[in-house]
Amino acid sequence: MRREGSPFSGLGTVFLKELSDHLTSARMLVLLLLVVFMAVLSVYNAVQQLKESTAEDPYLFLRLFTVTREQYPLPSFVSFLGFLAPLMAIGLGFDAVNSEHSRRTLSRILAQPIYRDALLFGKFLAGLVTLSISFVALWLLVIGWGVLALGLPPGGEEMARAFVFLLMTIAFAGVWLALAMLFSIVFRSAATAALVTLGVWLFMTVIWSALAPALAAAFIPPDPRYAALGLPTPETTELQTVLSRVSPNTLFSEIVLALLDPTTRALGPIYLSQLQGAVVGTPLPLAESVIMAVPQMVGLIAGTIVLFVIGYVVFQRQEVRA
């Protein structure tokens, strides 16, 4: 039997309320200040470096995002973002549902004529839009500063690449937002949810990149014939790539590589035969770069959806009462 009424009635109301909560919260302000501070630092560094190097570069503008100064090796803007975007997303999502439990507002709100769908989806959407607003502002800030500091306007293709990069940053943050919300549903205590999400984030960011090669070597031991030549075993390397792509951070950094460095021709291992006829060092057109990173992009978006759906199912089955 179909249930009556739309699952989306009340969605707009929940969305607007959550959005205004996010935008006025002290937590958001602190996170945003941190991100802006980091961005200013890394972009300043990049600008100095670009001014010093005289090498001609057709994609000078994109270097703003990726370059860092040689004598002060602070992380570049993208590495900062790869680090802080998840942190912001987790900061917005870790207490989305369990705070309604602890404030004892959940049963009162669910006694209004709305479905649980509207509450959860409204919260997710509000988090995602908050993140988008911050990232768009940050992105415009970097580009505006770049124009002022470098004294040259960005080309059309550079802008297009930077824009796809912006969208992917939002998708990347979306994965962590969905994960944080999932844990906020599963764990009744906001502190537990925050710790578990941060634990997963640390694991994926720091530990997994070291663990993937070890696991790959354990499953497919390197061939001594390749080892004798000082080469990696192709099968082992492939498994390692597959394993490391479980982490959204790997996917994001591969997307960044493809988009912001147009000379990137492949992500992951490449065979010599595939390089036949290639002019190494020449940039690819935008469409080719995007096609190269499509699996990673789809991976991030699919990850977001899958995590949200798991949270949705758990939330639907959860008892209102503690």
Binding site: R108, Q112, P113, E319, R321
Partner: protein, 314 residues
């Protein structure tokens, strides 16, 4: 009796192997105040959540305003107001903003929203703190704000879970006055409580819960006769000679006790106060107090559970 607004037929709720609510049936008429009483964990809140469609029903059926809360939860929730146990609000928002949020969720049209919020806040006497943040509110004020939400909603049924628990006597009285006013407007009220004397003063009928079942249901008077037996206890304070003997001769009096000098307690099968007064005055005694003990929920409750224990022990 007119068509009931709430009808529960053999409602059952099981969590895994544990049965929280077991074959519960009752009906509530429009404008009636119905009390669910019982110790904590007896299944009162679970019953309420099933009526609201907030938890799934394992067995039996519920009809609320002729809707099925499982299949048509929105239709039910549009017309039923719910005040959860220890209701919570968004502390960083003002009282009016909290109501505005709910008003939007309910779908009250923008042009009447403000009027209805103002009227509801006035009704529960929170108008002067409408723009204060709820974080500064006392528990009693929060409960009243919860009732304001129900008033604003124009609900036909108000379901109140432990509305008076944790309130001081003054706040309790104010809250009960608002509940009576709701009844006056034709709203049916279902309330759960373990505070018996307070509940007794507002409820038309009560259901006594124990271990997930309704063990007794009816008006307080009916329950009194069922549990305490048909007897009336009349307390007399009078001074005079041989009063006990005189009183014992009144038809219907089964026994006279004298717990203290000048104080007598008559056990009778009817209200014998007029005869007792006449007898004392005729005997030349000085009558200072004459009262009949109403069947009291507290007494019924205590007696019922002690009877149960005795039966178990036997």
């Amino acid at each position: 009796m007119s068509t009931p607004v709430i009808e529960a037929r053999h409602l059952t709720k099981r969590y895994g192997g544990a049965t929280a609510v077991n074959d519960v049936s009752f009906t509530i008429a429009p404008g009636e105040i119905f009390g669910l009483l019982g110790p904590n964990g007896a299944g009162k809140t679970t019953t309420i959540l099933m009526l609201l469609g907030l938890t799934e029903i394992t067995g039996g059926e519920a009809r609320v305003l002729d809707h099925n809360p499982v299949r048509e939860p929105l239709a039910v929730k549009r017309r039923v107001g719910y005040l959860p146990d220890a209701v919570g609000f968004y502390d960083n928002l003002t009282a009016a903003d909290n109501l505005r949020y709910t008003a939007r969720l309910i779908g009250i049209a923008a042009d009447e929203r403000e009027d209805r919020i103002a009227a509801a806040l006035a009704r529960v006497e929170l108008s002067d703190v409408a723009d204060h943040r709820v974080g500064t509110f006392s528990r009693g004020m929060r409960q009243r704000l919860g009732l304001a939400e129900i008033v604003m909603k124009n609900a036909s049924i108000a379901i109140l879970d432990e509305p008076t628990s944790g309130l001081d006597p003054q706040a309790t009285l104010e809250l009960l006055a608002i509940i009576r006013a709701l009844k006056h407007d034709g709203v049916a009220v279902l309330l759960s409580s373990h505070l018996l004397d307070r509940v007794q003063s507002v409820c038309d009928r009560v259901a006594l819960f124990q271990g997930g079942r309704i063990v007794l249901i009816g008006t307080v008077g009916e329950l009194g006769r069922q549990v305490l037996g048909g007897g009336y206890a009349v307390d007399v304070e009078a001074h005079g000679e041989g009063l006990a003997e005189r009183l014992r001769q009144i038809p219907g009096v089964q026994g006279v006790e004298e717990p203290a000098p000048g104080r007598l307690r008559l056990l009778a099968d009817r209200d014998v106060r007029p005869d007792a007064a006449a007898a004392i005055v005729n005997a030349g005694g000085r009558l200072t107090r004459l009262s009949v003990e109403d069947p009291n929920l507290e007494t019924i409750y205590t007696r019922y559970f002690s009877n149960q224990r005795e039966q178990h022990a036997a």
